[in-house]
C-alpha cells in the first residue's frame, strides 16, 4: 500500500529579476521585471508504506519544495498528491497527526529548555495522554541513547546530541511516516552513523516510513534501498540505490597483492594499469565491466603470479551523484533513449594498492 502518491506535481514561484547596481535597482522599482521560476516540474512517484526512500538533488533542485508540499506547508500550482490518504494542503492538520518532520537546519526544540519540556509540549500538541507520553519518552530515550541528555538545556547539547533529540521528538506520536530534511547536516561521521542506526532501528521496530533528503550520499547509501534524484524540478532517476551504482559506475578499481614480486611490464587486455608498486608486490588496475568481464580480468591477473589478496571496489555513491549533477549541469542527457548508461571514473582512485 503506498504511503505517498504524487502525480504531475508542479510548483511555480513568481520572481523578480534585476540587473546589478543602483541603476538596476531603480529600474526594478519603477518597472519590475517579473519572471516565473518552476521549482517543481511535473513530479510523479510513489512511496510504499514503511519504505526508506532517499530524495536527493543539488541546491535548488526542488526537493525541499516537494517535501513542503507533501507536509502541507506549501500549496502546489497544479497536480495531485496524497500522503497516507490525505491531500496535504487541504488536510494539513489531520495529516500532521500521522507524520513527523525534522528540518535539519531549523530546530523544533526550545533552545533554553531541557528536551524533556519540549517533548511534554509535543505530547499536548499531539493530544497524547500523560501515560502515553511517559511510555514513548522512555522508549525513545533508550532507543536514541538520550536518557542522560533529557534534562540538559538544548542549547548546551552538541549538534549530534541535539539532532538525536530532534528525531526522537518527531517520533513521539508514533507517526507512520517521517520526513527528514537534511538530518545529518553539520554532523561528524560518528554522530551521522548513530543517527542512521537509530533511524534504521525505528523503521524495523515500528515500521515507520522514511522520506529522506540529504546532501550526504552516505546517508542515502546507508539508509535507503531506493533513491529518487531530482534536478531542475524533474526526476532524473528513480530506482534502487544498488541499480544506480551498477548502471552508472561500470568502471571499477582493482587492487592486487601478489605472493611474489611480478617482473617486467604488465599488460592485461581490457584493463588500464594504474600503478605497479610495493616493490612489485602490488598492482592497481582500472577496468570497465561492460568491456572486460571481471572473471576474464581475474584470470589474466592469476596468470601474472600467485595472488595473496585482491579487492574490487565500487566508487562511492558520492561519485555517482557528482557525475549525474555534472552531466545535468552540462545539459547532457541523463538517461539516454537507448537505455544505456554512461560510465564514470571514480574520483580519487589514484594511489598505491
Amino acid at each position: 500500500m503506498p504511503s505517498i502518491v504524487v502525480d504531475n506535481l508542479r510548483k511555480t514561484f513568481a520572481a523578480k529579476r534585476k540587473s546589478a547596481g543602483l541603476t538596476g535597482s531603480l529600474r526594478a522599482m519603477v518597472r519590475p521585471d517579473r519572471t516565473t521560476v518552476e521549482a517543481v516540474q511535473g513530479l510523479s512517484f510513489r512511496m510504499d508504506d514503511g519504505e526508506l526512500l532517499g530524495f536527493i538533488g543539488p541546491n535548488g533542485a526542488g526537493k525541499s519544495t516537494t517535501i513542503k508540499i507533501l507536509t502541507g506547508i506549501l500549496y502546489p500550482t497544479s497536480g495531485t498528491a496524497e500522503v497516507l490518504g490525505f491531500v496535504p494542503w487541504r488536510e494539513r492538520r489531520k495529516l500532521a497527526y500521522h507524520i513527523g518532520t525534522v528540518f535539519g537546519q531549523r530546530s523544533q526544540l526550545w533552545p533554553h529548555l531541557p528536551a524533556i519540556d519540549t517533548l511534554a509540549l509535543f505530547g499536548k500538541i499531539y493530544e497524547l495522554d500523560h501515560r502515553t507520553v511517559r511510555r514513548r519518552i522512555t522508549l525513545l530515550s533508550e532507543a536514541f541513547e538520550i536518557t542522560h541528555l533529557l534534562e540538559t538545556p538544548v542549547r548546551k547539547l552538541s549538534l549530534g546530541q541535539r539532532m538525536r533529540c530532534e528525531v526522537a521528538a518527531s517520533l513521539l506520536h508514533q507517526p507512520r511516516l517521517i520526513l527528514l530534511d537534511e538530518p545529518s547536516i553539520g554532523l561528524d561521521p560518528v554522530a551521522k552513523q548513530r543517527i542512521r542506526d537509530m533511524i534504521i532501528r525505528m523503521n524495523a521496530e515500528e515500521g515507520v516510513g522514511v522520506l529522506l533528503t540529504s546532501h550526504d550520499a552516505g546517508d542515502i547509501e546507508a539508509l535507503c534501498k531506493r533513491v529518487i534524484i531530482v534536478n531542475h524540478g524533474q526526476i532524473v532517476y528513480d530506482d534502487r540505490v544498488s541499480a544506480l551504482k551498477r548502471r552508472y559506475l561500470t568502471v571499477k578499481d582493482v587492487g592486487v597483492r601478489f605472493v611474489e614480486p611480478i617482473a617486467g611490464d604488465v599488460d592485461i587486455p581490457g584493463a588500464e594499469v594504474v600503478k605497479v608498486g610495493g616493490g612489485g608486490y602490488g598492482l592497481k588496475l582500472r577496468f570497465d565491466t561492460t568491456v572486460t568481464p571481471a572473471a576474464e580480468l581475474l584470470a589474466h591477473i592469476g596468470a601474472l603470479g600467485g595472488v595473496e589478496d585482491v579487492t574490487i571496489s565500487d566508487p562511492s555513491l558520492e561519485d555517482v551523484i557528482r557525475v549525474i549533477y555534472e552531466q545535468a549541469a552540462a545539459g547532457e542527457a541523463i538517461r539516454p533513449a537507448d537505455g544505456s548508461w554512461p560510465s564514470v571514473e571514480p574520483e580519487g582512485s589514484e594511489g598505491a594498492p
Binding site: F13, A14, R106, W110, L113, K124, P153
Partner: protein, 285 residues
Amino acid sequence: MAGEAVTGGALARLWRRVRAAVRSVRVETRFVLALWRVNLLAALEYRTAFISQVVGMMLNNAAFLVFWALFFERFPSVGGWGMPDMLQLFGMTATGFGLGVVLFGNALNLADIIADNGLDAYLALPRPVLLHVLAGKSRLSGWGDIATGVLCFALTADPGAAAWGRYAVAALASMTVFVSFLVVVASLTFWIGGASALSAQAIHAMLAFATYPLTIFDGTAKLMLMTVIPAAFIGAVPAEFVRGYSDRSLLQILAAAGVSLALAVVLFHRGLRHYESGGMAVSAG
C-alpha cells in the same frame, strides 16, 4: 413525518458540530496553556534577565509618566484631561500591550517570521498555526508593562470588584485589538514580500496615538484612530469603560475586539495560501 425526520437530522448535525466546537475549544485551550507554561519555564531559566527586563520596562514607563506629570503641573487640563485621566489611559495601553507581548509575543515579529520561512515548523504540526505562532514566544519586558498598567489603575480607579472586573474586560479587549492589528499588518508580507519595516512603523504609530487623549484629535483623525490605526480601542475607549460602565462603551470595545480579531484571522489565512516558504524571498506576489 418526512419534515420531522429532516428537522431531526439537521438537529443531530448541529449537535455534532456544537460538540466538535466545544471539544476543539477545550483542546486548543489546553494546548495554549501548555505553550504559556513552557514560555514561563523558558523565562525562569534566566532569572536575572527576567527581573532586569521587567524593572527596566517599569522605569521606562515611569519616565514617560514623569514627563506628563511635569506637563500637567504647568497645564492642568488638556481638552478636559488631567493627570489621573492620563494615568488611566497610559495604564490601559500598557496593560493591553503588555498582555499582548507576554501571551502572544510573536505578534511583534510575525512579519519577519513569515518572510524568513519561519511558519514551516508551525505548519508541520497539528495545531492552529496563527494561535501557535503568536503564543510561541513571550516577551519578558511585557510583565513590566502589565505591572505599570496595574499600578496606574490601582492609583486612579475607584476600589471595588466591579472596577477590577471592568479593568480585566477592557484589558483583554485592548490586547485583542492590539495583537489583531499587528497580525493584519504582518499578513501583508504574504502579498508584498517584506512588511517588516511597515510592521515596525505600525507598532510605533499605534502606541504613540494610543497614549494621547482622544479629545485632542478632530473628527477625521478620530475616525482614523477608530478604523485604520485602531489606537482608540487600545487606550481611550477601554479606559473610558473602566472609568464608568456604559452599555455603549462595552459594546464598542467588544465589537472592536471581535471585528479586528475576525479580520486578522481571515487575512492571515487568506495570506497563508500565498505562503511560499523558500520562494518568498523572490516572490513578486
